[in-house]
């Protein structure tokens, strides 16, 4: 690192864990009990916003979502290996990206975010995959059931729906978004840390995050491997630590397990800052 300013944009559709990650990330920077190679050197200018989401996170309350048509801009003065640098991270509302794909128009500040950065943290949530189920596969399964039980299962008929671009399978939506970025950026290269949120809820037989991506989002996985202009790494991140219980509490989750990262290929556990470290070029071995 020779540049003393690092700019990383957070991208993701609604409810993919961007703001929760930011809260857990800020906690790791500020809490001396958290072993992390990154630490905050000074209070940020946006202390009000960061303290709000941090307090919610510490109290195990849901972090406030980034309001629609808004962008939270965070600038942090950080230290790493006795060096001090500024980390700038815009956190843009996920609805703006949905609007981009629906209307096929990039308005400011979406345009500035998609072309003005060389490094991105892109979030996907395993609960929002919207995997396609072909009707023929359903039919085949029903026939198999009928062969065993001797009668066809009852089929619920839903109202016929119209096609909507923002309801594609998530892997297709992500490829569409990355291709739109490529179009707007005229092919200029960038780094992409793909963050799989809620990793604590993922079936751990999936192995490493990269393996999970290959199995569960194969179209996106193939695209990223072939995209010459994208240098990418995959991270499994648990920024919340678990699901809220019936009382809306996370008290059952030990503090030490609230936030961690599983890195791309090795499936080793690191602190929550790992995706930022890799994206900023401070820890290439994590990718």
């Amino acid at each position: 690192m020779t540049d003393e300013s690092v700019r990383i944009a957070l991208l993701g559709f609604p409810q993919t864990g961007k703001t929760t990650y930011l809260a857990a990330f800020y906690n790791a920077l500020c809490d001396e009990e958290v072993v992390s190679p990154l630490k905050a050197s000074a209070l940020p200018a946006q202390a009000t916003y960061l303290m709000t989401i941090l307090r919610n996170w510490q109290d195990a309350l849901p972090t406030a979502r980034t309001p629609t048509i808004e962008q939270s801009h965070v600038e942090l003065l950080l230290s790493h290996d006795e060096r001090v640098f500024t980390l700038t991270m815009p956190d843009m509302s996920g609805e703006l990206f949905q609007q981009l794909l629906r209307e096929r128009t990039a308005q400011s500040p979406v345009y500035e975010t998609l072309v003005g950065y060389a490094t991105y943290l892109v979030f996907v949530h395993p609960d929002e995959l919207r995997e396609r189920v072909l009707l023929t596969d359903i039919q085949a399964a029903q026939e198999s059931v009928a062969a065993v039980v001797g009668r066809s299962p009852t089929v619920d008929t839903a109202a016929v729906r119209d096609f909507e671009v923002d309801r594609l399978p998530l892997q297709s939506t992500m490829v569409d978004l990355l291709q739109c970025m490529d179009e707007l950026r005229s092919g200029s290269a960038f780094r992409l840390a793909l963050v799989i949120s809620a990793w604590d809820r993922v079936d751990h037989s999936a192995g490493s995050p990269e393996r999970w991506l290959t199995d569960r989002m194969p179209l996106l996985s193939q695209y990223l491997r072939n995209a010459r202009h994208i240098r990418h790494a995959v991270f499994g991140v648990s920024a919340q630590g678990g699901a809220y219980d019936a009382a809306g509490s996370l008290a059952h989750v030990p503090y030490a397990d609230r936030a961690y990262t599983i890195v791309a290929r090795t499936a080793e556990r690191h602190d929550i800052t790992a995706p930022v470290l890799w994206a900023a070029g401070l820890a290439e071995g994590l990718g």
Binding site: A106, R132, V133, A140, A141, R161, V165, S188, T214, Q222
Partner: protein, 300 residues
Amino acid sequence: MTEPQADETELDDAHRLIPSGEKLTAAQAALVPGRLRVVAIAAPPASGKTTLLAGIYEQFCRGPFAGFTFAGSRTLVGFERTLFHASNASGRARPSIAHTEYADNVLLHLALAPQAHPGEVIETVMLDASGELFSTFVDHDELGPARDIVRYADKVLLVVDGERLADPRTRQRQIAESRFLLRALTERVLRRSTTTLAVITKWDLIRRLPKAEEIQTAVQRNLSGANPDTAVRVVGDLPLFVARPVAGPSEPDGLADLVRWMVSTSARPYTASAAVPVGSRPADRFRAPGRVRRPAGGRR
């Protein structure tokens, strides 16, 4: 298919348009850089051309296929729209593939990377024109703007509807329509160097018939009479319409071979040197002169 919302990227201070992702125009196809394969899909109406192409895309949604991995698609939304109507998300009980409208020349795009040659990408542009257009072509020699695309395609794929072949009442009519279409293409449009392949879809409906081999032979004989160089292959168990056994093969029969044929170097190859003839690239062959603005930067 529906109308595109924005045809090309334009820049101004207020907003930037992004391509619709539904389909390419010939001019947009001409801007696709790199190693290009142009494949024209020809068929009588309702033969399953769109289903065939969407079925290929769906295979890549499930993982690497036929020795290739997915490297991008400028018509991803178009593929997704087709597949939506064959999925449970549509709320339908039975698959319904949108009919390609008359005179609509849909150009679909898939960028594929051979697993055996990492780093290499083959750009494939496929013409999915309406079946009615090809019927009109047989009767009146009218093909409109699709004519140039078909003429300069590297390969032409003639789709023969296996469902109509399986039915004795429609079999002869289907064979005759396919023969007339191939003959019209061969005599009026295709270059001698164009590679043609006829593919019988929904083969799983035919192969269980006692006359399966006889039917395939009849198709081969009739099409060879129209164009001696035309091979006939079969594709069955397409995932969109024909339910596969749950424990059955993961790859639809013949579809992998078809993909390999589509992206392989043709008899008149477009190799790295031959693909960029002096003054033009393969797609420039059907580009209207002077209509294309080339952006400063390229993709990939």
